[in-house]
Every structure is written in structure tokens, then in C-alpha cells.
Amino acid sequence: MAIEWNRRRFISAAATVVGAAAMAPALSACSGSPAPQTGANTEPGLRAALPAYLPNTAIRPEIPSVAGGPDVLTDAGFLTYPANPVATVAGVPGRGGSYTAVTPLWGTVPSAGNSFYQAMNKALGVDLAMKPADGNNYNTIIPTMTAAKRLPDWIQLPAWWNPNFNLGGLAGTQLADLTPYLAGDKIKKYPNLAAIPTAAWRTGIWGDKLYGIPGFATGLPLAGIVYYRRDILDAKGITADQVRSADDYLNLGKELTDAKRGVWAFDDVWTYLSPAWGVPFRWKVDNGKLVHKYEMPEFLEALDWHYRLATAGYVHPDALAGDNANASPRFYAGKTLIQGGGAGNGAWNVADHESGTAATPGYRRGAFNIIAADGKSNPQLFLTNSTSELSYLNSNLKPEQIEELLAVANYLAAPYGSAEYTMVNFGVEGVHHTRVNGVPTPTDDGKKNVQAQTYPFLASPPQVISNPGADVVTKDNAAWQAANAKAVYKPVFWNMNVALSQALATAEAAQAVEDTIKDCYHGKKKVSDVQAAIAGWKSGGGDRLKQWMTDNVLQKYGTGQ
């Protein structure tokens, strides 16, 4: 239950501009509580705090990255794994300190003190107690920890929960300022951290100071894309190139839906397809003026189209009933043929390939290109934050302890295919993995204890596309990224952190409007109902939010583009 809720919450609330509750300045000034956080960053302040960028070129991918627009870069693709991984760190990074680290883990927790943790401690030269917590409840666990001031030495806080964690308030009170250690050329001491693109570091900066260490940074972060069952549509002679407009999608709905046989063309696609109407994530700037997406006629058009899609009977009834948990099995079973999903490795990966082929041997996932709804304008899709995975150090740590942990982070961020990467992601050869056809393949011990959501959640190199055993996925994914990178643009306030007061954060989340929108694209409410909800939202805080954003963010800090 919370499961589904979290996912929706992300889509409605997280991302480009994150709100965090700030306390009332008047009160905090006289009460001796921590100084209020502005959150947003000035251009010069940002430049002073940002680390230098020194890309790592030691290991060359088979499919190199392709540049799209400014700051847009596709993920590199790897079809093989280096036979003799090179080391990027000399000696052990640590000096024997003892620390605890907490990460969210959506899965089975490895047992404490297992052989992999021991091997890692030896390789890192520290006694780092990994304490993963259940990811589903993470947004409940952390606020209690911070309320009781019980944060561990090193913690991972996913950015989509920044408002829940009040990250703007934590930065500078409970989280350590890393600017003195990493700003500008200082980061050269940690070459693997320096190879993380600048854009990702921006998401870790609050009030001109650097706090977060980004993981899984990507040059092509997208809210998600529209996938289809390529094996089935290919057999019908339908290719991705033929779908160029919203009308084409509607026609596909008609052609592919066969309710009697239990097949519906679509699962939920609103989040993934609505940008085709030119709808931004939240804000856009028109003639120097800030416009919220709710105020755009394009937004209502997109909504109307999705309403028609649902009421025409082209969307699977379970999706309309809000059952997202079984969206993947529906897709694998061929009960739906078109679905939205995460970009990058999000939905398009070897695990998906294995699940799909387990149901249908010829299973192949394909993605439609980014389109413009009218079929004539330039196709476009906005970027989201360059990373959603940031880790932070506790402000109680001494400077030499921070330096020791940053050296550990540098080890963890070693590039794909290096000796350190192999250790962090696959463990010790012969114990946690063996080489099968040159590819590190986890043993039973490895499957249990070596998990991507432990050490890599603290620090990791930029994302790559790599699906050992399913090259077709790597090639398809890389080809899609290369073909679509040009259609991706930087939205306003991109990668900017903004701390909002509670009332403004409530207005930004616009729960009542988002609820009505969902009812609308599920065919239960009309567009006019959404318009009414939007009118209520504007008078109930939306207009104030816009004014505040204009005065305090747009005027002072610009659009961040």
C-alpha cells in the first residue's frame, strides 16, 4: 500500500525544485533555534562551491556517450566486462576509523557482519558498519531519527523525499558542510569523485554550500518514457517510427485493444506522455514571467486526451482501478501492450528481459520516440534531476574523519569495470562471484550479500548501460537514448534546491488538484472538474506560491538554465 503511494508521491512532489519546510524566520531569530535556510543558491556562490569535473577515461565503453542539448549526455554502453580490471586507488583509503552508515534498501537485508562486509572493510581500511533500513518505511524512519538527533555517521537520503526530511533544515544543522573539502580543485584529491558530472553535484548544494555526495548520476535523467511490446507490435508490422502524434497513439489504442481476449492497448501513461503537449514538470518561463503548468491550455488539452483514452476503453481496467503493483506482470503477460516506465536502466534492464522471456520466449521491450502531440512541432521532453541518490556525512564528525570517509567515497565511486568497482559490485572473485563467459556472475553468497543498495548508495560512478547476458537490451536502450537525446531540454530551476515554507510546500504539492487529475485520466472526472480544482488551488495558495517563486527564486537566482 505505502508502496504504491510512494511511487505516486514521487511523481507529484519530487524532482526539479524540491521544497523543504523552513521555520518561520521571525520566531527562530529570537528563539535560538538554527538559522533559517534559504536553500536556493546564487550563481557565484554555486560556482565557488561546485567541485571541478575531471572525466575518467581509463575504461572505454563499446558504445560511447552521445551529446544532446546542453548538459545532455547519453549513458555509455558496455557489452563486455574488462578481463583484468585496473585499480584506480592506490593502497587502502581508510586509516582504521569506525563508522556506521545507513542506506535505504528495497529488498532482503544482508546479515550483519557477513563475509562481503568483512572483505569490504579490509579493502577500505575502515570499520564501516553497514546498516540498511527498509526502503518502504524510510520516509517514516528518517524524520524520527532526525527529531531525536540520531543520524548515523554517513546516511543516504533519496532526493524525492527531501521535503519529508526537510533537507534544507538538516543541511547545516545535522549534516556536514563538505565545501571546504571538495569545492573547486580540492576535489582532485579524490579523482573518482571528480569524475562525477558537475550537474549532479548541484543537487547536493543548499544555500551555496555543498552537502550531498551524488550517486548514480546520469546525463540523461528523464521522468520516464513510453514502452511497448516490441515483439508483438513488430509481428503486427507496427514500428516505433510510425508513432509520431497523439492521434497515432489513439489509433493504436483502437487497433490493439481486444477486451474479449483480455488485451488492452494501454496501461497508465499520463506521467510519461503528457510532456508531449509541451507540459513542463512544474514551471516554465514565458516572456520573463513564471507560468505554472496548471495555467497552461496545453495542460488541459493533454488531460482531455488522456480522459478520452480512458473512456474509450483502451486502458486496462486494473490500471484504471489504480493497481500499479501488477503493471509489470500485465505487460509480460501481453494483457497490456503499451506502458510507461522509468528511463535509463529503470525499466529497461536484464532483469526485465529475464522476467519477460520467462513468460514469452520472444519477449522484447521497445520504447516509442519522444513526440510532439500535434505531430508537427518539435518533439520535446524535460530533464529531471541529474541524480536522486545523495549521501551525507554527520556534522558531528571531525575534519580528519570527514576526509577519511571522503577517501572511502572515492573508492566506492571508482568507474565501471575497475578493480574497485568489481569489488564493490561483485565482491571477491571465487567467493562472491565467478567469471562466466568473462562476465562476473554472483554466487549464492554474492546474491545474498553483495547488493547495489548498500555501498553504491553511499557513492557510485556515473550510470552506464550494462546488461551482461542480454546485449539486445543494452543495444536497444543505447540506440533509443542516442536517437532521442536531441529532443531533451533543460527545464527552469533545473537541479536547483529551494526550501519552501510549509504552506508553500503544501501549495506546491497541490494534493487536491493532483487527486482530481488522476481521477480525470482514469476517466472518472471531467476536465472541467480539474479546472475547478485548479481555480481552488490558485486562490488557496497557488497564486501565493507563484508570487513567492517569482520574487525569491526567479528574480534573485534566475532560472538555473
Partner: protein, 324 residues
Amino acid sequence: MTDVLTIQRKNGTTRVPKAPARSRKRSARPAWEEPPTTVGQAAKGLTFAGVLAVVVVPLWIVVVTSLSTQGAINRAGGLVIWPDGLTFEAYSQMLADTTVRSALLVSFGITAVGTVVSMAVSVLCAYGLSRARSFGHRFLLTLLVVTMFVSGGLIPTFLVVTGLGGYGQWWALILPSAVSVFNILVLRSFYSGTSADLIEAARLDGAGDWRILWSIVLPTSRAVTAVIALFYGVGYWNSFFNVMLYMPTDSEKWPLQYVLLTYVSRGNGMPGSLNAGFGTIQAQTAPLALQMAVVVLTLVPLLLVYPFMQKHFRTGVLTGAIKG
């Protein structure tokens, strides 16, 4: 009067073969009861058949799905109704996990200790409030009932428990939720019904409240005591919320339900665009078979415990036996 007490205790623990209640065993109808009508029997049979069907069919689906291969589940596009490909994979994966085994011990420990603590506190409190017109009982009842409806919220409770040093401590899983006012009220309502004659007789006999509770009230209300113990036991067995608050990162202290939750929640709850984006090891959401196996594993201990509780349902008829 002393005799009454002796009989009382003896009857509480031993079976009296001549008692009419016993004769109900093995469908033997008591002599005084008229034979059932055909229509009545048929209606009853149909009702129970219907009730059983709506429960058994979903159970069947859950069990079949837990035994299905991933291929079978993906072909069905969700829960499996007709067995397609069967495997014990999900069960062996869980039972081979050392964490599950230690968590099982933790769960048994918490359930046993917690149930004993809760029962002791609740039985005493319920009896303490069950005597009519005793001093302050209305005030205390109000004090209890208010807590059913008013709560200070998650964070204040958390701060109180951590303030008392409960963070990471076993007692934090038991004491904050040891008292269920609902259970006390149910117990109290049964205890109030315990025959006043018996109690007064014992009192004249010189028995104090502790003795009365132990020798008269408890033996005559074994059914409700068993029911409330079951309520508490199930509550402790299933609880995980306090674990999440007070020991979210100490995986060696997690009880079974919390560990099983991590099996079910694999990959879930991550935002759509990131789901499964971290490497390829175990990145996919939890297989449905595993989720259903968790459900089955949760049901097994309950199926084992329930029969032990049931037998207490037929022993609470002694009060009248004495009166008559």
C-alpha cells in the same frame, strides 16, 4: 462453602464425563434436543458451504501462486488460479536464509514475553475494575477509554520512548503497546458477569481479591482468557511498526514479520523512474510467488496455535453446575 471452591477448582481442570456439555461431542445430539428439520439443515449447510467457498478459493489462489514458477505467474499476468508450473523455489529461498531463522527466534521470544506481560497487566486491571462500585473504578475506566480515541501522535511517542532509553531496546517493542484497552474492556465485561454468589461465598470464606481472581474468576472464564491471549499473541506476532521506529537498522534484532516484509517490498516503493536502476542484482520487484509464500508462512503458526485455543471454548460452564 469451602466445598464450592474445591469443586470449582477440580472442575476447572478435569473433565466431568457425566456433564451434559460433554455429550455434545461427536455430533451426538443431547437427548432433550428435537431432531433437526431437513429444510433447516439444508439452509445451514448451504450457508456454511458459501462461507467456506469465499474463504477457501482465495486461499487456494494464494497457495498455488506461492508454488508457481515466474513463467507461470507472468503468463497469468498476476495471481495464478490453475497450477501451470510448480516449484518450491520461493519457500526454499526463504527457509535457507539465516536471517529468517534468527528472526523466527526473535518473533517467538517477543510474542511469548509480550503476551505474558500483556495478559498479566490486562487480567489484573480488568479484574481490578470489574467489581461493582469499587473505589475509583469510574475514573480509572475513563482514563483507559480516553486513550482509545486520543493520541499524541507518532513523533511525541517516539520521543518519550527514546527519552526513556528505549532506542534499540527490546522493551520498546513490548511496553509501549502492552496495554490494549479494548482487550481489558472485553475481559472486564466477562469478569463482571462472573456469578456474584460465588464471589461472595468465597469472600465470606475469607478469600481476598487475589485469591478470588485466581481461584474463581480465572477458572470460570477460560474461554475469554484464551481469546484475549490469542488477540495479544497475534498482535505481537504481526507487529512491525515499533521495530521500524526503534530498531530500523539493527537487522539482527528484527522479528520475522519485518524480515518477511523486506522480501515482499523488494524493489517496491522506489519511484518509477529509478525502480531497478541500480545495477542488475536483485533489482526487480519481488516475485509474486515469494510474496504469496510470505502470506502462507504467516498463516502456518496461526493454524497450529488455533486448535489449542479452541478447546478452551467448551469449559466455561461450571458456574451453573454448582448453582444447579
